[in-house]
């Protein structure tokens, strides 16, 4: 054999390789395959005994769901609930003889941390390697869900990415990965958010959100109007649709009305309104200040509960 050198055994490269494969092996024990869509199974995490968490958008049917475990067994599962706002779903199984995921310390979520995204889109466990590329504070998803921390990844997204865990180099779980919250970018829902949503879904089967039954669009108000009525903001939310029989409709809100304040707080962004409409507002009276035909009108409305989105239908991995 001609001279062709290799690194000596016991080198750091080999020990890093062993650490990564060991992390996948450990964490992979609690990663399951969920058969609830066509084509390729989705990934899920055995989060608590008998409780599996998954990405809502990958669970495309509510019944006849089965789960394949790391030990090769396949068991039936029932959907305990889903929260489209955080893209999480919770399933329950009677018996899962595989370990539950071990969570990492929250401090492990740092920019630059070496991480593995683990999946099980079938019988075998899969992995991709990368780093956490950005970390931010609490943020609100497009659908109004609250995520405790913003965690963006520089990790390639393959089949089985969504619903699988993000783990550190020791195999401890930092959160649940999904490509369903930000137009396909790789994000992680941190373990703290998963715990909170799991608690809510196990308790009531859903994460209740307040609901006005109004379609709103931000519009700029003419300066003369703002000055004449001393409005708090030059941006309002115009009503472009009303849900028949919904809270807004029952309170007499009309298409063309411009919402400028809720409970004396100016609203210029639909996201602010979503933030205001937490589950605790359901059934409560709130005062809306509306500009109708150039004149301010005060309307009192009883907040309803947002209807549940049926099932995951968006494409995603």
């Amino acid at each position: 054999m001609a001279a062709s050198t290799t690194t000596p055994s016991g080198g750091v490269l080999e020990s890093l390789s062993n650490d990564l494969a060991g992390a996948v092996d450990r964490a992979g024990q609690s990663v399951v395959a969920i058969h609830a869509r066509r084509r390729i199974p989705a990934s899920g995490i055995h989060w608590r005994p008998g409780v599996i968490v998954a990405a809502h958008h990958t669970i495309q049917r509510d019944e006849e769901i089965t789960i394949s475990l790391a030990d090769g067994s396949t068991v039936p599962a029932t959907l305990a609930g889903r929260d489209p706002t955080t893209d999480l779903a919770v399933l329950k199984v009677d018996e899962a003889k595989v370990p539950v995921a071990s969570a990492a310390d929250d401090a492990a979520i740092r920019v630059g941390a070496l991480v593995l995204a683990i999946g099980r889109p079938g019988t075998a466990v899969t992995a991709s390697l990368g780093v956490i590329s950005a970390v931010g504070g609490e943020w609100r998803t497009w659908h109004g869900g609250t995520i405790d921390r913003f965690v963006r990844l520089d990790v390639s997204i393959y089949d089985g990415f969504s619903g699988g865990p993000l783990v550190d180099a020791a195999g401890r779980v930092l959160g649940l990965n999904t490509s369903g919250l930000s137009r396909g970018a790789a994000l992680t829902v941190p373990a703290a958010t998963v715990n909170r949503v799991v608690d809510q879904l196990l308790r009531s089967g859903r994460v209740a959100r307040g609901y006005l039954g109004l379609g709103l669009q931000a519009v700029r108000l003419p300066t003369s109007l703002v000055e004449r009525h001393s409005l708090p903001n030059d941006i309002g939310l115009m009503v472009v649709s009303t849900e028949p029989g919904g809270p807004g409709d029952r309170a007499g809100v009309l298409i063309g009305d411009v919402l400028v304040a809720v409970e004396q707080t100016p609203v210029g962004d639909p996201a602010e309104l979503l933030a205001f409409l937490g589950g605790d507002r359901i059934g409560k009276q709130v005062g809306l200040r509306i500009v109708r035909g150039g004149e301010p009108v005060d309307v009192s409305l009883t907040v309803g509960e947002r209807p549940q989105q049926a099932r995951g239908t968006r494409r995603g991995r």
């Binding site: 001279a3 050198t5 290799t6 750091v12 390789s17 996948v24 992979g28 593995l116 075998a124």
Partner: protein, 199 residues
């Protein structure tokens, strides 16, 4: 600090792989990569890289040889090319064991992606697909491009464990060298057989 030895080992690994990786020029069809399988001048590459009967082989030190395609298996997508190196000993690849690979293991690919000569890529094993207990495909989370075809996928010690063959859904897909061993023994038998018939 492990970053310093890590960088040094990676550089050593890259230079070892560079020596045992060749460029395969399939006249007019662009370039692929190949692996120096033994010091006598046997090159292993993909069948889709060596489409014609002859190919030009360029070593990392610039030496250029005319090669003859001695075996092709389009099913396995493997081919061998023999070069006459005039008795010189070529720097052959060190071979590893694909059966030992685990998901998450570090892997490196070496080759000539998009005409860039001698490019290294780092990744991890995404999954090893087996059939009947034997590895069939090594899928790796690694960035490959056309031109990597026929080049080596190696483990963390620089031992070649696969032949980079295609890109599927963004994953690099390599034929494990266990398949190469079978291909070579099949090809050897076929040659022996034809000699026998010719006699």
């Amino acid at each position: 600090m492990i970053t310093e030895p890590l960088g040094r080992e990676m550089a050593d690994l890259a230079s070892a792989l560079r020596r045992s990786t060749v460029e395969v020029r399939d006249h007019g069809r662009g370039a692929g990569s190949g692996i120096i399988w033994n010091s006598d001048g046997l090159i292993v590459t993909n069948a889709h890289v060596a489409r014609a009967d002859r190919a030009t082989i360029v070593l990392s030190d610039g030496r250029t040889f005319d090669g003859t395609v001695t075996a092709r298996d389009p099913e396995r997508d493997l081919a061998t090319i023999a070069i006459d190196c005039g008795g010189a000993s070529l720097p052959s690849a060190t071979l590893g064991h694909p059966t030992d690979l685990r998901t998450g293991d570090l892997v490196v690919a070496f080759g000539n992606p998009l005409g860039i000569t001698g490019a290294l890529a780092l990744g991890v094993v995404h999954v090893v697909e087996s059939r009947g207990g034997a590895p069939r495909w090594i899928r790796a989370d690694i960035r490959l491009a056309p031109g990597n075809s026929g080049g080596p996928l190696a483990d963390a010690r620089g031992r070649v464990i696969g032949v980079n063959t295609l890109i599927a859904n963004g994953l690099g897909v390599a034929v494990p060298i266990t398949s190469v061993h079978r291909f070579l023994s099949d090809a050897g038998r076929a040659r022996g057989g034809s000699r026998h018939r010719a006699a």
